[in-house]
């Protein structure tokens, strides 16, 4: 994102319903680089700001498959190649006995990829962010809902965008310094 003195224009709303409606209207008005902030997951909000692509499931699938394959490969290599031991005449490659560890490794890698994949895709941890410059934004984790139009949006203009956001009847509007 290009560094500009202003990060965007932010509007504050009272309810989740209000925010979703406002996000829909902003998106329909042709603003593409927008984001919304809420104190809990609001259904339909991601779609309202035009966010559809979610790669978390793919990351988890790949992580889980890698975990399962590496778990099985580890056991095969140890029990057949590196350290073959005859236990009660069982074959070296006694696959039924290897299922448990394969399963656990699938879950372990899948779970780790879910958490760290989600954080990485979200760009977290990121202790500093311009939106925190708005004092009212502290309520985004309590009971207020925010909508921002980024200054990188081609349609962004300080006066036009402010007028547009005022038309959505927000509780307050503030310019977010970068």
């Amino acid at each position: 994102m290009k560094r500009t003195p202003v990060y965007g224009m932010m509007a504050e709303f009272d309810s989740a319903q209000h925010l979703v409606d406002a996000a829909h209207r902003t998106h329909e008005a042709g603003y593409l680089k927008i984001d919304a902030y809420s104190p809990f997951p609001v259904e339909g909000l991601a779609e309202a700001i035009g966010f559809h692509k979610n790669s978390v499931p793919l990351v988890v699938l790949i992580g889980g498959l890698l975990g399962g394959l590496s778990g099985y490969a580890l056991q095969y290599w140890i029990s057949v190649v590196s350290y073959p031991i005859n236990v009660g005449g069982k074959p070296y490659h006694s696959w039924p006995a290897f299922i448990v560890v394969t399963f656990e490794m699938t879950i372990l890698f899948g779970g780790i990829s879910a958490v760290f994949g989600m954080l990485a895709l979200n760009g977290l941890p990121m202790p500093y962010h311009p939106v925190f410059n708005v004092p009212r934004f502290a309520f985004a984790t309590k009971d207020r809902f925010f909508l921002i139009v980024f200054s990188t949006d081609p349609k962004y203009s300080p006066s036009e965008t402010r007028r547009f956001l005022e038309g959505l009847a927000p509780r307050s509007i503030s310019e977010v310094p970068s």
Binding site: S15, A16, Q17, V20, A23, D35, A36, Y37, S38, P39, F40, P41, V42, E43, L45, A46, I49, F51, N54, V56, P57, V60, G64, L74, Q75, I78, S79, S82, Y83, V87, K90, S94, A97, V100, V101, F103, E104, M105, I107, L108, G110, G111, A114, V115, M118, L119, N122, L124, P125, M126, P127, H129, F132, F137, A138, F139, A140, T141, K142, D143
Partner: protein
């Protein structure tokens, strides 16, 4: 999370959250326990006692490291003793936390939202207490890393056909996933605490832990997907963990262990004891912190029903064990049954049946299901019963096996008791710290239960 959109009341049952709350009041009520409420004398007293018990455990474990496992009551033929009894008991208790947070999430049970956070914390601390026992039982705990497959100069590797190695993987995966699940659920609430606290140090610490969470719609979207997938992964995991624990027994040929009923019966028993522990923690917490509006009669009732159901599965397990003693025609199995009912540990077997089967049947009475005091006491009885069950499984099967010449008796020593009671102290000390420094109820998930969270397209 769609399941939270369902109405707060279903039929005539008590609500999941009392009416009249808003996003702001829910946030303030839960976060004020951590941020503004003065720490009570009761908290210091409780934490102090738990802390002293923890010190007692460290003393017992320290002495164990100096002298070796000979200070315990374990001798051949009973090589497993308290360490394994306590390991199975603790890890079973942990299962209710994952059941509440993962399985009930998938089943869209919105009532879980007010108890999942501290149930997950309970899981974490119970698994820590459980993990301690195999480590100190191996005799040379400083070599416990030999359990893991790592390239070494001895050129040896673990034996993957052994259930004990499966257990290492199952329990360490379980601990890792439980920690991740709990932490990721905390992140949005840590951001709330960051923004609510006025103390600079608290702002910095909560701010670091919150990872810069700002509640962006994109973030929430990925967050919910990741959370749901994690729940989907944790569900088979939790069922597998106690299954693998039961394999530690069932794969051996010892009478009373070598049976196919063990996996489902262990899992049911785990959930049974876990819910008993959830209730034993939830009932005092909701009373002392005035959280009756969030942890309502509905939660108590539902937990009681889960205990009733899993208790009946456990009873079925006992019945099948008895039946197989007769039906198998195996004289060692038949003897085991006789020995349980009439042998030297018969009193404890009958006590186990009383605690796990007979007493919990009073939960059929609605009045007792909704009485916190009664539930607290019944949960205590169930926890004792489930501990006795593991004692009977471990000790009674081992003490008299195939040859009369190898029979013996098991007498726990004071070091066994000090270690066991000490882990209860450690568990409680961790719970005391948890309710003091972290939000014990998920604030953001409680917000989604409010009617104003509803959005129409």
């Amino acid at each position: 999370m769609d399941e939270q959109r369902q109405p707060a009341t279903i039929g005539d049952s008590a609500p999941v959250i009392e009416p009249g709350y808003t996003f702001g009041t829910v946030t303030d009520k839960i976060s004020s326990i951590v941020l503004t409420r003065p720490t009570s004398n009761g908290w210091f007293l409780g934490f102090g006692i738990a802390f002293l018990l923890t010190m007692m455990m460290l003393f017992a474990v320290g002495y164990l490291f100096v002298r070796g496992v000979g200070i315990w009551g374990v001798t051949i033929p009973i090589g497993w003793g308290f360490a394994i009894v306590n390991f199975v008991w603790w890890i079973g208790i942990g299962h209710a936390g994952t059941l509440i947070s993962a399985i009930l999430l998938l089943l869209r049970q919105s009532w879980r939202n007010s108890i999942n956070r501290f149930a997950e914390a309970m899981t974490l601390f119970a698994v820590s207490a459980a993990g301690l026992f195999p480590l100190i039982h191996v005799g040379r705990p400083w070599l416990a890393y030999w359990l893991f497959p790592y390239p070494n100069t001895m050129k040896v590797w673990p034996q993957f056909r052994s259930p004990l190695v499966w257990d290492v993987f199952a329990v360490s995966t379980y601990a890792t996933i439980s920690l991740l699940f709990w932490f990721i659920g905390l992140v949005p609430d840590l951001a709330t605490l960051r923004d609510r606290s006025t103390n600079r140090a608290a702002q910095i610490i909560y701010g670091m832990l919150a990872l810069g969470w700002r509640g962006s719609a994109r973030h929430w979207h990925r967050y919910e997907t990741a959370y749901l997938l994690l729940a989907g992964l944790a569900t088979p995991l939790v069922l597998s963990v106690h299954t693998v624990v039961s394999f530690d027994f069932a794969v051996a040929i010892v009478p009373g262990w070598h049976t196919t009923i063990f996996p489902p019966y262990f899992v049911a028993g785990a959930i049974y004891s876990g819910f008993a522990m959830v209730l034993m923690l939830a009932i005092p917490i909701r009373k002392f912190y005035g959280l009756e509006d969030f942890i309502t009669e509905r939660h108590l009732q539902n937990s009681a029903k889960v205990m009733l159901a899993t208790g009946l599965i456990v009873a079925y397990g006992y019945a099948i064990e008895g039946f197989m003693g007769w039906y198998s025609g195996n004289r060692y199995d038949a003897f085991l049954l006789w020995n349980r009912l009439h042998g030297p540990y018969a009193f404890w077997y009958w006590a186990l049946l009383a605690c796990n089967i007979f007493v919990p049947q009073v939960l059929w009475i609605r009045k007792l299901r909704t009485s916190p005091t009664a539930l607290f006491l019944i949960s205590g009885v169930i926890l004792v019963g489930m501990w006795l069950e593991r004692f009977i499984i471990v000790v009674v099967s081992l003490h008299r096996d195939f040859l009369t010449s190898s029979w013996g008796m098991y007498y726990p020593t004071r070091w066994d008791w000090m270690t066991f009671i000490g882990t209860i102290g450690m568990f409680l000390a961790a719970m005391f710290l948890f309710v003091r420094i972290l939000p014990m109820i998920s604030i953001f998930e409680m917000r989604t239960l409010l009617p104003e969270a509803e959005v129409k397209e």
